[in-house]
């Protein structure tokens, strides 16, 4: 206890002495050094205190701003999605507009009267066989009417009307296995029968041996065919097969002029067919 009392007294005297020193000699080197050391010890803590005080004091406001920003962010994201959809829709509409403008321009130059129709149904199981269009008997569509399509400022034969209903019709494509077109090459003196095979290619048979057919040549509908008007592009020769030893004619693969895959609208030509062709489709169906 006495030791503690002594310690207290010594400490008291020591600190009083130090304080008095600071008081009595405020401008002495010792006092100034003490003050500078103490200042450097304390100012960093005050600096960081001020820094974090700023953050702590602004926490509610920052949190509110964060919530507002989050809400704005969500709203803007939603708006961006809407705009992206709008842009895509607009692009699709623009592309369709360009395509239709091109098709309309081509159809005006056609020598045939006809009806525009939209492809309304394609059956995946019969992709190269047939499809439905949204025009029927009410629009003046008749059986075996020629159907043409347009693709990037060119037209081509698609097929013929196979079944007619009041408001829609079914089109038999030239790529259908039951379809065939008599075709010829402009400037050449031969004809061949382009037959569908249920794939994207046609096969041309009965080309006489020695004909000057070559890859890249355009095949058009022949004037000797009654079903289709003459001069319509059917496709281009993709490959010529050499003559088989047991046959006396050559064959060729023809890529259709119009791709069935990208077809959206077709033009159904109205023309007077020979009377005996009107019952052909029923005959085929049976």
């Amino acid at each position: 206890m006495n030791r503690e009392k002594d310690m207290a007294n010594y400490a008291f005297v020591f600190f009083v002495f130090l304080s008095a020193l600071l008081l009595l000699f405020p401008s002495t080197r010792v006092a100034q050094t003490a003050r500078i050391i103490a200042s450097y010890s304390l100012y960093p803590s005050l600096h960081y205190g001020a820094k974090y005080d700023y953050y702590i004091r602004n926490v509610p406001e920052n949190f509110l701003n964060l919530l507002k920003t989050d809400q704005e962010n969500r709203a803007l994201k939603s708006k961006i999605k809407e705009l992206e959809i709008s842009v895509k829709t607009a692009r699709a509409a623009e592309a369709e507009n360009q395509r239709l403008t091109g098709e309309m321009g081509l159809s005006r130059n056609l020598a045939f009267r006809g009806v525009w129709a939209r492809v309304i149904n394609k059956n995946p199981l019969d992709w190269y066989g047939s499809f439905f269009i949204n025009k029927g008997a009410k629009a003046g569509i008749t059986l075996n009417a020629t159907v043409i399509g347009f693709e990037t400022a060119r037209l081509g034969l698609i097929g013929r009307v196979f079944e007619v209903y009041p408001d829609f019709s079914k089109v038999l494509l030239i790529t259908n296995g039951a379809s065939s077109v008599i075709g010829s090459v402009p400037g050449a003196n031969f004809e061949g029968l382009a037959e569908g095979r249920g794939t994207w290619l046609l096969k041309v048979n009965y080309i006489p041996e020695g004909s000057d057919i070559a890859e890249g040549m355009e095949l058009i509908t022949s004037p000797s065919g009654l079903l289709f008007p003459p001069g319509l592009p059917v496709g281009r020769v993709a490959r010529v097969h050499p003559k088989e030893s047991f046959m006396n004619f050559i064959t060729a693969d023809v890529a259709p002029a119009i791709s069935i895959n990208s077809l959206k609208e077709v033009y159904v030509i109205k023309r007077d067919l020979p009377a005996d062709l009107y019952g052909l489709s029923e005959g085929v169906k049976k």
């Binding site: 310690m7 400490a11 600190f15 130090l18 405020p26 006092a31």
Partner: protein, 159 residues
């Protein structure tokens, strides 16, 4: 290593005092947290350490202020010694005795500091408003600071 807790407590007390006076002052008056810390340390710590606390807390206030250097250091050292003497005769652990001690010692230290300022620098640093209000604020908050210091001593063996 043993002084790290004390140094941390010293710095944190200084920061708390600075933050309170910077942000929580009402009509230019705020409780003197450093005074309450020095009082609590004087009650809880051994005499030599209590006086060291008093001295360094005083130095902190001297540094923080722009008045004469060493006035608060001397004042709080004397206060620590006074508490050392007092606690041999009075129980300063109770809340009521702490409030009375804080009220009395706060007023006395302010008077003493005022006297030192007048003698050594011929200035009058404390206004009447602070002199009338601050002792009561210190007395009201002293038990809370004491409780905190007591918990620190019990939990971390600081002081």
């Amino acid at each position: 290593m043993i002084f790290i807790g004390d140094i941390l407590l010293y710095v944190l007390t200084g920061l708390a005092c600075w933050w309170w006076t910077a942000n929580m002052s009402a009509f230019g008056v705020a409780p003197n947290i450093v005074f309450m810390a020095a009082l609590s340390a004087a009650i809880l710590a051994r005499p030599a350490k209590a006086m060291a606390y008093g001295f360094f807390f005083g130095v902190y206030l001297d540094i923080l202020g722009s008045n004469i250097l060493g006035a608060y250091a001397l004042t709080y050292t004397l206060m620590a010694y006074a508490v050392y003497v007092l606690k041999r005769h009075f129980d300063l652990i109770g809340v009521f005795s702490q409030i009375i001690a804080a009220l009395t010692l706060s007023a006395l230290t302010m008077l003493f500091y005022q006297g030192l300022s007048l003698i050594f620098a011929k200035i009058n640093p404390l206004d009447l408003k602070a002199f009338l209000v601050e002792p009561f604020l210190n007395a009201a908050l002293a038990p809370f600071v004491f409780y905190l210091f007591a918990r620190l001593k019990k939990g971390f063996n600081i002081l």
